[in-house]
């Protein structure tokens, strides 16, 4: 008699813990081997909990040195690389390798952002004036339908590199890659709450996320123009930073707008100090 497999229970990843939806609801998804599985159908309350976790984690995440954040992102890349086979089963090998390389790319941005976005301002008065980028805070991401893994990582990585924490709504038709990514990130050194991943119905979750007053920015790569307009309207309530983008197609498109992504999730602080005893 052949051995019976122990099947995976897919869970949401919130605050560093793997949890079921507080609503208890589920949806269906199909694995690469054709098997149907149950996945959590996140609710507005899960979104609320995720934003709270992301907020709590944001201060400590931003307080780490840029070097440390870079090391953590690189380790996430290591963790994903060593699980290529597992992730390839729910996306494709090339996509996984591109996702790894995207994480590596942004791991290398953490301690360079300041040199590129900031600087010293040669003001016409005896002051040392300098500008430094700081993270905007908690970023909401609405991931594209596909490529499910790369499209998600292409938005997570720059947000994290800039010192933000993230709540992401996973691809609705292809959620398994994102849910497996949660497991990968869970074994990397990413602190709990820095990334929160929710599977469920985009039409329910994205507006809930976009309406949350404690979100600083929303990144929408859904490609759904009506949703985009709604998110923009919701963003206006608290002057959130909103960005809409097209889904990436591969590594090159994923990093082509790196600086724009990083800049869009940073706030520039300018300080002045007199020079003169």
């Amino acid at each position: 008699m052949s051995r019976l497999a122990v099947r995976k229970t897919y869970k949401l990843w919130i605050g560093g813990a793997f949890v079921r939806s507080e609503s208890g609801r589920h949806d269906h998804a199909v694995q690469a081997d054709g098997a149907q599985v149950n996945i959590p159908r996140a609710s507005r309350k899960d979104v609320r909990d995720a934003v709270a976790a992301a907020r709590k984690a944001q201060g400590p995440w931003a307080a780490r040195t840029a070097y440390n954040r870079g090391q953590i992102l690189y380790r996430a890349a290591e963790a994903l690389e060593s699980r290529t086979d597992q992730l390839a089963a729910v996306s494709d090998r090339g996509q996984v390798q591109d996702a790894v390389d995207v994480l590596v790319h942004y791991a290398g941005w953490t301690d360079k952002l300041h040199a590129v976005l900031g600087g010293v301002n040669p003001v016409a008065a005896p002051f040392l004036s300098f500008s430094v980028p700081e993270p905007t805070g908690v970023v909401g991401v609405v991931a594209p339908d596909g490529p499910a893994l790369l499209g998600l990582v292409a938005e997570l990585a720059p947000a994290l590199a800039a010192g933000n924490t993230v709540v992401a709504i996973l691809s609705e038709p292809h959620p398994l890659a994102g849910l497996d990514l949660a497991e990968v990130l869970g074994v990397s050194d990413i602190p709990g709450g820095v990334v929160n991943l929710l599977s469920g119905r985009r039409s329910e979750l994205a507006p809930a996320l976009g309406a949350h007053r404690d979100l600083n920015a929303i990144v929408d790569v859904s490609g759904d123009s009506e949703l985009a307009a709604e998110l923009d309207r919701l963003a206006a309530e608290t002057i959130k930073r909103a960005r809409h983008g097209a889904a990436v197609t591969g590594y090159d498109t994923a990093i082509a707008d790196a600086l724009e992504r990083l800049d869009g999730l940073s706030e520039l602080k300018t300080a002045w100090h007199p020079i003169g005893a």
Binding site: Y67, Q71, W109, A115, V116, Y251, P274, I275, A277
Partner: protein, 486 residues
């Protein structure tokens, strides 16, 4: 010369020797050329000694002219392919090297201490972590060069020859190799005569990282090896860290040639303490500035400029603090000041210190038991120093600090700038506006305010005047390794 006896110890730290049994060194190391260990053409091998014990650690090949040529040829052959790699692939090689340094960190720290004499606490907590961080930082620039130098097109220079000193052997190797490779160059590194080992372990790490053959060569040897390397026709760029005297020779040797050059040379940096400084922290900064790494630091705060109104108080605090420095076995984890790197260097220090006494300065050296074997110099403070004294002008490169007084800010700046050197400076004051104003006026490439001897891969480092030209660290560290097309 006055010394003060130590009080009798009630509670002392027991010996805390770092374990060395996990370190695997070979008896003999070849040259690293074309991805593998090679015998030198003329079969020259020299022993490298532990300066704390004068005992040999290993035999190391020294490269002769034929070896230099061989290395350049392999570097030249490897360069186009290296530069043509997709940027992200080149980056990943450097990330691998960074991670391998971290994995082998303890071993590297022990070997660095054995080969060079610096305290284990420093090689473990400063040298090795910073070396890994430099590779990590520049790995991340490899695919972002056009952001780093604000250009649409950049290209590597080609084959670079790099010579590093004995005071931070692995760290200096990292400072040189990381940016060079990130920019698509291939490199030939000549480690210092007395400290080749960690560079050779780095060669092993390059192999473990599967770095393509020829991208990095390591050629131990003496001054002649270095002289041959920099003058060789196949070198597109030279990067040198070492004494101003040798830097001058190199610059002269390259006169009229298109070889690009950067130099990081000596210093006689002024550490300036104002009366409104946080005094106890200033004392720590002074100690760190001149006794860190036995004072074998190009940017050492070797001229201590103290505002007259606090000079007696500060010297008293400093002297008492110096009395707590633990000098001895570098492998002991509690050692603060290790061995002098070589007999030659010890001789140079002793000569200059004797000159200081002859010229009339007042010498104080802490009382401490020095081991019977090895090269040692106890931390020393000179007061009654005139700006013209040799000990105030010439770089001693040892644990010797010379005190000069000043009355006003303007005088401090003038004295600080009155040197052929211009590498670093320290400013101690609680007033931010003053700190920035003095910093603006100092002709020094690195200005530390209320701290000293802090280094980071993101922060550019380099000198003014005869302390050299070119910068290492941050995006500024990329420019010397690139041709900016447009």
């Amino acid at each position: 010369m006055t010394t003060e006896p130590r009080t009798s110890i009630v509670w002392d730290y027991a010996p805390a020797p770092e374990a060395t049994d996990h370190v695997r060194l070979r008896d003999r190391y070849g040259l690293f050329i074309d991805g593998a260990s090679r015998d030198p053409a003329e079969s020259r091998y020299e022993q490298t000694l532990n300066p704390a014990t004068e005992q040999p650690i290993a035999e190391v090949a020294w490269a002769g002219p034929a070896d230099v040529t061989r290395a350049i040829d392999s570097a030249r052959a490897a360069q186009p392919k290296w530069a043509a790699l997709p940027d992200r692939e080149r980056a990943k090689y450097l990330f691998r090297i960074a991670r391998l340094i971290q994995e082998r960190a303890r071993e590297l720290a022990v070997v660095e201490t054995m080969d060079g004499g610096k305290p284990l606490r420093e090689s473990r907590d400063v040298d090795i972590p910073l070396a890994a961080a430099h590779f990590f930082h520049y790995a991340g620039w490899a695919d972002k060069l056009r952001y780093g130098v604000n250009a649409r097109e950049v290209a590597p220079l080609g084959v670079v020859g790099q010579i590093v000193p004995w005071n931070f052997p692995l760290l200096m190797a990292a400072w040189k190799l990381a940016p060079a490779l990130a920019c698509g160059n291939t490199a030939i590194l000549k480690p210092a005569e007395t400290t080749p080992l960690t560079a050779l372990l780095l060669a092993e790490i390059c192999q473990e990282a599967e770095l393509p053959a020829g991208v990095v060569s390591i050629l131990p040897g003496d001054g002649e090896t270095g002289a041959t390397l920099v003058r060789a026709p196949g070198i597109d760029k030279v990067a040198f860290t070492g004494s101003t005297a040798v830097g001058r020779d190199i610059q002269a040797a390259l006169a009229g040639r298109p070889t690009s050059l950067t130099l990081e040379l000596g210093g006689k940096s002024a550490n300036i303490v104002f009366e409104d400084a946080a005094l106890d922290q200033a004392v720590e900064g002074i100690v760190n500035g001149i006794f860190f790494n036995q004072g074998h630091v190009c940017c050492a705060g070797s001229r201590l400029l103290i505002q007259e109104s606090i000079i007696e108080t500060l010297i008293a605090k400093l002297w008492r603090r110096m009395g707590r420095l633990r000098v001895g076995d570098p492998l002991d984890k509690n050692t603060d000041v290790g061995a002098i790197n070589s007999a030659e260097q010890l001789q140079r220090i002793e000569t200059l210190v004797a000159a200081g006494e002859d010229e009339g300065a007042q010498r104080r050296t802490i009382a401490c038991e020095l081991p019977e074997h090895g090269y040692w110099f106890a931390p020393t403070l000179f007061t009654e120093v005139s700006p013209a004294h040799r000990i105030a002008v010439e770089e001693i490169f040892g644990p010797v600090v010379s005190v000069l007084s000043f009355r006003t800010q303007a005088e401090a700046i003038e004295k600080a700038n009155n040197s052929r050197y211009g590498l670093a400076a320290g400013i101690w004051t609680d007033k931010g506006a003053k700190a920035f104003e003095v910093a603006s006026a100092l002709r020094a490439g690195v200005v530390w305010q209320n701290t000293y001897n802090h280094f980071d891969p993101t922060a550019a480092f380099g000198g003014y005047k005869e302390s050299g030209f070119g910068r290492e660290g941050g995006p500024a560290g990329l420019r010397p390794y690139l041709k900016i097309a447009r």
